[in-house]
Symmetry: C2
Amino acid sequence: MAKVIATCRNPEAASALQALHGLYAQNLTVLRLDATREAEIRDAAEAVAKEHGHLDLLINSGAMLHPSARGETSLREISAEGLSITLATNTIGPLVMAKYFAPLLRKGTGAFGDQFPDQAKQHTAILVNLTAKVGSIGDNALGGWYSYRMSKAALNMATKNLSIELGRGKTKVVCVCLHPGTVDTDLSKPYHRNVPRVKLFTPEYSVNCLMNIIEKLDMGKTGKFFAWDGSELPW
Amino acid sequence: MAKVIATCRNPEAASALQALHGLYAQNLTVLRLDATREAEIRDAAEAVAKEHGHLDLLINSGAMLHPSARGETSLREISAEGLSITLATNTIGPLVMAKYFAPLLRKGTGAFGDQFPDQAKQHTAILVNLTAKVGSIGDNALGGWYSYRMSKAALNMATKNLSIELGRGKTKVVCVCLHPGTVDTDLSKPYHRNVPRVKLFTPEYSVNCLMNIIEKLDMGKTGKFFAWDGSELPW
């Protein structure tokens, strides 16, 4: 069974994660990590390297809508500070994660995803950045949510760049952007009453959808942006 | 003749701008403005409001490649700090400019661009964010330049959002992303020897190309991304 390392800023307060740890203590490690602190990311990567030597799948899922917990509805509500904090959390954090974990992904065993018969096209690992459909510029018809939309568009660019850099060389890493749908979590809580019930996914349902996509990824799909149902999204 | 307000961080050191001011003192005002300081932007907008009452065209052109003056060639070279400074300058600055100048653009006279015969589709002003072809995720085939590419992709999203918000209401503002080509300026200087001479534009040539595009903009073109030659770029 796979070994899973979950990270969060405050493990003591993460009761759901602690409950999972109680059930799967052999397979689940919980590491303290604030993705806006480069030194903590470097230390976490060193700890994983020492314990496991490699990583097969990295999922960057940490994000905020905005420090106010609500997206900006108009230009008047934007501020340099709100933009800066959102970009640090949603965009810079995941890319700095990629910087320190890429060497471990290069050493992965290729346990996730489909593999090409041609060895030159096989991958060692998969890097997933959870972005969002509202991070698609081409799909944007409503506006608003400046900080969140911009942070996800920039993360999409980072993922495309990563797919190019980590697609070169002897050991290749598949890098994709995934849209998880609207999931019943704290992030989207202020908006739940506007979401039709069938479109508000439980975390379990969304994770199952995303794992189905991840299990079918290969180097032919690297650098792309997929929704929870497997459909490709425009940039 | 149009009144032009040029802004820069250090007017005393901007010798080319001072020379222009010497030739066109009646028409050119030089304002001190650091686009990473929200209070300075607010003050500048208040000064322009007091002196002119409106604005017909806002061009956000300030940008850096990276604090090192060179784009990152690989993931190893990225840092949270470098990303943060580049995003503050290239992405947050222009959006905060839009926040404070939007009310003046809403009051513009429509002096630039083509106007629809239908009054409901006419615009009062134009907002241009200079982004870059390397800020196109869909066009990205080479990777690298993480900070610069990400900052411009995020600015493209901001521009799309602006086009939606400022396209609503009685007075409309055309908002576009423009790619100026590779221009003989300090920003691209470290790369000039790799650029074929015919592809390295003088500032005058690039500005003429961009003004030709701006003079043909209308509400049908808002929210789009054009290169110096008028061709539309993908997101």
